[in-house]
């Protein structure tokens, strides 16, 4: 039977690869693959593939030679591994469930397949994820200075990850048995914490003579602190307590074939013991697996609609009364603001405004006002910048959340540009309001650091007014790019389908990320020129810059508005020709 399941897994994987290869007939995917491949090579694999000779020519930040701290590293890593594995006994609160998709659960649970075979299939399936994670961990660790043969590193990571996978599965089976025996989550957690407390007390008692705080000299350098840690962790029962976890880690930490081979046997023994434990302790997992598969599918769909972690939305009142007459884009604004949730209601905005104004005023009064003001200033500046760059990626109440209803949108008796404008309004408004709140906070609370001169209320107000005028139009331009992506590459966003993976998709996203940045800069140039001309003219008229800046923001906003209008008109035409069914499946 396991051969049939292996066949299922192999065919699914192979067909997925074939579909992706076929998709490369479209230039946009081929270009994405090339771009993504180049990116992965230069930023990750180059370091992994490079030998010691070529590595010396690659300048990357590393943690340097860590061989002097090998003992401390092994003990620390074992400690981290132990804590991580312990979380598998403390955190879970539901019955054991195997990570199957809904289709797999329905097909496999109704087929004449034993539970043990299903567990084997789950272990087989999880190997795909383990191998990908192994490669990723190898590349990351190698990039930051891990030494030794790449193959030994990869094998070491695989042993660690495979053991963790088996341990969590085995723990979930045991926890399910405990649940069946009447041990609720609270009782079980209390018992575990009790055992841990007793164990910690015993360790402290046994090692009471060797335990001490580090001296001043021991925290003076990383090497001295590592020596201190090695001395503390190496004393008493800790090395013995951590022994099984050290066995799991040792192959990865081995840098030569001989030490690797000597560490491999005990590590594989731990792995095999875990496997035997899992296979011999299967429990009823069908119901929980099905429930988990449905929950994951819902979460995935919700996440692709911009609703992270929300499975069951709640009915909400409209943000305003929508009359049946008036511009149609307002209807989309109304609809998408409902989807955006309670955080973006007028009442919420007023409450946030009151809180920010109160905090801003109170921090500006005390003796620490310059220090706190500088912190607020930096926070506001960074947040504003991030909001401009990341806002369009995070707020997805536009075509990205409506792709599933695209047929309905295309049925509406509206010109394409009206639909595009309508879809853009809600996220632009939400982001602009957030930015305005930030600016209000900055005007009231921000100060320059002590000794850095003066930046008074009038100056802060001038800059904030300028930014407040420009921000909505800038946001409108910024949101055009991800929405263009939806209309040009709809398969990236299809809910409930595994179509958003692969180097080619990463490449496409990088292209669009760079494109977004480039469009952003290009859009800013005419606006900057317009603002610059106005500032120059007003400067010639000896007008103070605190007036010139907000005045100059008006033509800048107008130019950005014109650019956005041109973009909306173009996207409208793309929307009218949009045909989801012409996209190749993958």
């Amino acid at each position: 039977m396991i051969s049939a399941l292996f066949y299922l897994q192999a065919c699914s994987g192979w067909n997925r690869i074939l579909a992706r290869v076929r998709r490369l007939k479209k230039p946009k995917y081929l270009v994405g693959l090339l771009f993504g491949g180049v990116y992965f090579y230069f930023f990750l694999f180059r370091y992994g593939a490079a030998g010691s000779h070529s590595r010396s020519r690659v300048t990357v930040p590393t943690f340097g030679d860590l061989s002097a701290y090998a003992g401390a590293i092994e003990l620390l890593a074992a400690l981290v591994l132990m804590m991580f594995l312990l979380s598998g006994w403390i955190l879970p609160h539901e019955r054991a469930a195997l990570a199957f998709s809904e289709s797999e659960a329905v097909f496999l649970f109704s087929a004449p397949i034993s539970r043990r075979t299903l567990v084997h299939f789950k272990l087989l399936k999880s190997q795909v994820g383990i191998l990908v994670t192994t490669l990723f961990m190898f590349v990351i660790s190698n990039r930051f200075g891990a030494r030794g043969s790449p193959w030994l590193n990869i094998a070491g990571w695989w042993i660690i990850l495979a053991t963790i996978n088996l341990h969590f599965l085995g723990a979930s089976f045991v926890l399910t048995r405990l649940l069946d025996a009447g041990w609720g989550n609270r009782r079980r957690r209390l018992a575990i914490f009790g055992v841990l407390a007793i164990a910690a007390g015993a360790i402290l008692y046994v090692a009471r003579d060797s335990l001490r705080l580090p001296s001043e000299a021991e925290v003076s350098s990383p090497r001295a602190f590592a020596n201190y840690l090695q001395a503390i962790l190496g004393a008493g029962p800790a090395p013995w307590l951590l022994y099984p976890f050290r066995l799991i880690i040792r192959p990865y930490l081995s840098r030569e074939a001989a030490t690797f081979l000597s560490a491999l046997g005990p590590a594989l023994l731990v792995l095999v013991l875990h496997y035997v434990w899992v296979i011999r302790s299967t429990v009823a997992f069908e119901e929980a697996t099905l429930a988990m598969a449905q929950k994951r599918a819902k979460l995935l769909t919700a996440a692709r609609h911009g609703q992270l972690g929300i499975i069951n939305p709640k009915a909400r009142r409209g943000p305003f009364n929508l009359n049946s007459t008036g511009p149609a884009p307002t209807a989309f604004l109304w609809k998408n603001l409902i989807a955006a949730g309670n955080l973006f209601r007028t009442r919420s905005v007023v409450i946030m405004l009151i809180v920010l104004v109160t905090v801003g005023f109170s921090t500006g009064m005390g003796s620490m006002r310059n220090g706190m003001g500088a912190v607020i200033g930096v926070l506001v500046a960074i947040s504003f910048l991030w909001s401009v760059m990341l806002g369009p990626l995070i707020l997805r109440y536009d075509f990205r959340s409506d792709l599933r209803s695209m047929d309905a949108l295309k049925l509406y008796p509206l010109a394409g540009w009206r639909v595009v404008l309508g879809e853009l309004l809600a996220p632009v408004l939400v982001l602009s309001v957030i930015q305005w709140l930030l600016l209000v906070f900055g005007v009231i609370g921000a100060r320059l650091p002590p000794g850095a001169g003066s930046f008074g209320f009038q100056e802060r107000l001038a800059v904030a007014c300028g930014l407040a005028l420009v921000a909505p139009m800038l946001n409108l331009v910024s949101f055009l790019i991800p929405n263009a992506t939806v209309l040009l590459f709809p398969t990236w966003f299809q809910p409930g389908q595994d179509q958003t993976q692969g180097i080619e998709v990463t490449g496409q996203r990088l292209i669009f990320g760079l494109g977004q940045f480039a469009v952003f800069l290009v859009a800013l140039v005419p606006a900057g020129i317009a603002a610059g001309i106005v500032v120059f003219i007003l400067g010639q008229l000896t007008m103070p810059w605190t007036i010139a800046v907000p005045v100059a923001a008006v033509p800048a906003a107008l130019v950005l508005g014109l650019e956005a209008a041109a973009g909306i008109a173009l996207l409208g035409r793309i929307f009218e020709k949009f045909d989801l069914s012409s996209e190749p499946p993958a």
Partner: protein, 254 residues
């Protein structure tokens, strides 16, 4: 009125529909039938303006879809087999949104009577996620009928409906046809089409095999036989020389 001339839809080299022409007049109900992959759904999506045809002309209530899509779409409603609803709008909010998009001035009165007719009044404040499959279909119907469309497209309208829902859907279709709407139904349920349709169009591999009134098409494929069902006509028109035999009648239940 629906007027179609030379409609062709290609996906790269694949021909989904080729050179399709027909007319449906007000009050007529046309049944679009054909085996899987015949091009029925593609045809409906082209006619309703969801996807652009590769070639050909489509006129809805006298408006050319390619040059005047707004006017054409204002006159039609399309009901897909899977109701397309917004997850975060309640039943009433759906109707409010549609009223603004289609500019329906007295939408509250119309929505009230539609919700009553479709037994959705008690579900006004409920999200689609809390509705059953049949209820979602009813909500989609309420949204589609709110602006009193002159042309209505149905794609597998009975999918997932219980017997009550099926009867209600049939009544809705018949009533709209009697009121003068032009209706096109795509379905595999031939008995439904036999019951509801005045005309039938048979598609196979994207090509029209036959069209006309139900009687005309029946006569063409009946080979002088009487009482030939639409199901039999369908098999004769669309199958290869070897036609699957009709199944024997079920034995009486003891």
């Amino acid at each position: 009125m629906i007027e179609v001339e030379g409609l062709t839809k290609l996906y790269d080299a694949f021909v989904a529909v080729e050179d399709l022409s027909f007319t449906v007049r007000p009050g007529e109900v046309l049944g679009l039938v054909g085996p899987n992959g015949a091009g029925k759904t593609t045809t409906l999506r082209c006619l309703s303006g969801i996807i652009p045809p590769t070639r050909g002309q489509v006129r809805i209530a006298g408006h050319e879809m390619s040059s005047h899509p707004v006017e054409a779409k204002a006159a039609l409603a399309f009901f897909s087999d899977e109701p397309r609803l917004f997850d975060y709008l309640t039943v009433e909010q759906h109707l409010n949104f549609i009223a603004r998009v289609y500019r329906v001035p007295d939408w509250r009165n119309r929505a009230g009577s539609l919700l009553d007719e479709l037994e959705l009044t008690e579900k006004r404040a409920v999200l689609p996620g809390e509705l059953s499959r049949g209820m979602k279909q009813k909500l989609a119907i309420a949204c589609g009928l709110l602006h009193s469309p002159q042309v209505i497209f149905f794609d597998e309208p009975l999918t997932g409906l219980d017997p009550y829902g099926i009867r209600r859907m049939k009544t809705t279709i018949q009533r709209r046809a009697q009121e003068g709407a032009t209706i096109l139904i795509s379905s595999h349920l031939l008995h439904l089409l036999e019951e509801l349709c005045s005309h039938v169009l048979i598609l196979k591999n994207g090509h029209k095999i036959a069209d006309g009134t139900v009687d005309e098409v029946t006569r063409r494929f009946s080979a002088q036989q009487t009482d030939v069902s639409l199901e039999e006509i369908f098999f004769r028109a669309t199958s290869d020389p070897v036609v699957p035999p009709a199944p024997p009648p079920n034995p009486p239940i003891a």
